[in-house]
Amino acid sequence: MKIVMFLMLLLTGNSILYSQKSFSDQLILDSIFEPKLTGEAFIAKVGMIGRQFFNDEWAESDIKLTTGEKVSNKLLKYNGYLDEVVWLMPEFFKQVKLDKFAIDEFVFKNYFGKSIRFKRINIKQMFISDSTDIFAEVAIESNLSLYIFRKIRIEGTVTKDSKGANYSFDQLESAPVYYLKLRNNNFSTLQRLNRRALLHLFPEQKTAIRKLLRQNFQRLKTESDLVEVVNLLNKSIFH
């Protein structure tokens, strides 16, 4: 049995060897003439309690620029409070806030064992007259797409006593916003995670959606419920 396992391992090795060789030339060239990232020096805001960043640890990432070029293996963090991508220049240990308009997408290649893709989308936010560009996590991209804006906002202030003096700190809270995009490229904001909010977005398909959710015993209380619901809608209604 051990021999069988050993041979199977060798066979797997063979196929890996085969697949890796053909791309090596282009990869070397791409790394030599890699496009340059642009941005400005970044210093994280202090005087806050809670997480400013979506990922606390620097994540190895690939970036797709608006020019169509790709930049690989850069250490990135996504700042949800500022909605900005921060790059760690390893040569100088300097943090750089990358120019938002130069980036189309970025992918955290290994975020707790899975890859997470963020995309720059143009949406109309509540209480802001102009449309703005935001980075949103791509949860589902299909006929009905789901994007999650990993927003972090100030929920209030906390006063803390330190060595006899009182200091005021902003309390940060995660406040994700869910955007659904239909085939006509229009974005709709899902205000709350419940059935009524979802049905409100699709008045024409209201009955069909209600029936579908009932038939599948599908709840809509959490983010993972929403992902399942959107998958279900893509299969049955928006196919």
């Binding site: 069988v4 199977m8 066979l11 063979n14 060789k21 030339d25 282009q26 003439f33 400005e40 020096a41």
Partner: protein, 587 residues
């Protein structure tokens, strides 16, 4: 028992799969260092100065002899024994193919010329691997016709009797034609039966005396295979394949010591209304390389060394991609009275054709520019100021004082220095900001200090520490002048300017069939009856073509060259005769 069978089976599968993997590994690694080869099919071998030479260029992998998808740029030059390069052409290669035309200037002297073609990757394997073809160009007014050829050579030494070209039948509807008559040519059913697809170039031209038709694609590839083993050993690793754009290479040298300078930061910018920059560090041999995309096509390139020590005399030398080390020695053609008479006749024909001109070349509007990416230093400025919106100010000191609130220009030791307030920390950087004029990095504000509002169109200010790759700028001031003042300014003591030529356009022979299908008052003495570099064979299309004879009687050669996706070369030729009405009726 089952496990035993499974083990034996797996051992067999392992060895079966191991062999191709090892084979692929070698082939893949060979592929990584394998050379390319180029071949040029020209419409003819003999030209009169003032005519247009049509050509199709093929780029192949030298091992598989299939069309190469590696190099996207090829170089073609025309030279003679006295001049290293008379015409230089940079071509964009699409799927291993490029085509076009070159106008041969009227001033060219009579003699043997050489067409040389290569890719950047081929430079690693030496100039002996470059494609070279000797042609004759005769000056229109030269009746002496001293061809300066090697008189000892009786025939073409290089290609005759090497191998017979692949025999593909060229079936014409007749053997003999009248003037201005339609000729139909079919490539025969056998070709479509064997080949699903092939990219061909077709030329129909008047037969040239003593010049053999054995100089073919098939012969060239056969010859290349014979010397393949020698040509697969790279003699240098300095040149990259140009897979995404032209790779421009140069050196930084200390003028005093004549030694190369390592780790120097070379900056490339191009005058523009956008601040653009690329940089590269020199390696231990002092060499730097830039990959130029289509943004740089036809633009002036300005190279400078960033932070070059003022005490040193560093200079940049850009390598001329058309500079060949080996010289051309004419040896293909011989002095021959028949050839001389043919050229004298061709001179008269060209004279007539020049008197009754028509558009010979049809330039294709197909966009060659596909990869236009400007390397922007910033996307959005923090502050953009248009001085025209303000009262007229005499110089940049006044402009900074009155309308640039975050910029301070002051005099220090009789020179001017600029400083920017860091809007993040609300204090001056106390370092020189990145200063750009018309998109180009300049190192001294004193060069623009006399610029008043009459000269400046726009000023962009970025008052944060800007990062571009691993370069840091303590703020940026970008000045855009009204009349590209960068032309009159040396951005840096080490700066050099290079004009980057545009890619040579794709072009075809203009075949206006209606002109030749009916008698016309204007004479038509074309010696080139048909040229199609884009003749495709596929399983659905009938492999045939048509053209019209001219008023010029004589023997004409139909020559077809090309290659299939499998790397099978095609070279075939046939002969037709054009007679005038009297001769034809006598027959």
């Amino acid at each position: 028992m089952n496990i035993k069978y499974l083990t034996v089976g797996l051992i067999l599968v392992f060895f079966i799969t191991l062999k191709p993997v090892i084979g692929q590994g070698i082939s893949a690694s060979n592929n990584a260092i394998s050379n390319e080869l180029t071949y040029i099919h020209t419409d003819r071998d003999v030209y009169i100065a003032g005519e247009t030479m049509f050509f199709k260029l093929y780029v192949l992998n030298s091992l598989s002899q299939k069309l190469s998808d590696k190099s996207k740029i090829a170089y073609l030059l025309l030279r003679n024994e006295t001049a290293s390069s008379i015409l230089k052409v940079r071509l964009k290669v699409k799927n291993g193919i490029a085509y076009g035309s070159i106008f041969l200037p009227d001033t060219l002297s009579t003699g043997s010329y050489e067409i040389v073609s290569y890719t950047n990757w081929m430079k690693n394997f030496g100039e002996k691997t470059f494609f070279k073809k000797e042609i004759i160009i005769a000056n229109r007014f030269d009746k002496e016709l001293n061809l300066h050829t090697n008189k000892n050579l009786a025939t073409e030494p290089k290609t005759t009797n090497i191998t017979k070209p692949v025999d593909i039948p060229l079936i014409t509807d007749k053997q003999t034609y009248r003037q201005r008559e339609k000729v139909s040519v079919n490539l025969g059913n056998s070709i479509t039966g064997k080949m699903q697809h092939a990219s061909l170039s077709v030329s129909v031209y008047e037969e040239t005396p003593i010049i053999s038709n054995d100089y073919t694609f098939s012969n060239y590839l056969f010859l290349s295979k014979q010397i393949n083993t020698d040509n697969q050993k790279p003699i240098s690793h300095a040149y990259f394949p140009e897979t995404k754009g032209e790779i421009l290479q140069g050196k930084v040298i200390d003028s005093n010591t004549k030694k190369t300078v390592a780790d120097a930061c070379v900056i490339l910018s191009s005058p523009d209304t956008i601040v653009n920059l690329q940089y590269a560090y020199t390696n231990n041999k002092g060499i730097f390389q830039f990959q130029l995309n289509d943004y740089y096509n036809g633009k002036e390139l300005i190279f400078s060394i960033k932070d070059a020590p003022k005490t040193k005399t560093w200079k940049i030398e850009i390598e001329d991609e058309f500079n060949l080390k080996t010289l051309f020695k004419a040896e293909r053609f011989t002095e021959n009275p028949e050839l001389k008479n043919y050229i004298l006749k061709s001179q008269d024909i060209v004279y007539i054709n020049k008197t009754y001109p028509f558009k010979i070349v049809e330039e294709l509007t197909k966009p060659l520019i596909t990869n236009y990416i400007c390397p922007k230093v910033y996307n959005k400025p923090i502050q953009s100021v248009y001085p025209v919106d303000f009262v007229s100010l005499p110089d940049f000191t006044e402009i900074a004082r009155e309308i640039l609130p975050t910029v301070k220009v002051r005099k220090h030791n009789n020179t001017y220095v600029a400083d920017i307030i860091d809007t993040e920390n609300h204090m001056f950087f106390n370092k020189n900001p990145g200063l750009f004029l018309d998109g180009v990095l300049i190192d001294d504000i004193n060069q623009i200090i006399m610029f008043g509002t009459d000269k400046i169109n726009k000023i962009d200010v970025l008052s944060t520490e800007r990062i571009y790759g691993d370069l840091k700028f303590p703020g940026i001031i970008a000045v855009f002048s009204k009349s590209m003042e960068i032309k009159n300014i040396n951005p840096n003591q080490t700066s050099i300017r290079v004009m980057n030529d545009t890619y040579h356009p794709y072009s075809l022979l203009n075949l206006n069939e209606n002109k030749y299908s009916k008698p016309s008052l204007s004479p038509d003495f074309r010696q080139l009856l048909y040229w199609n570099p884009n003749f495709e064979i596929n399983s659905t299309q009938d492999p045939s073509f048509e053209f019209f004879t001219s008023d010029h009687v004589g023997n004409y050669i139909i020559k077809v060259e090309g290659i299939t996706p499998e790397g099978i070369s095609i070279s075939s030729s046939a002969k037709i005769q054009v007679l005038n009405h009297v001769n034809l009726s006598q027959r």
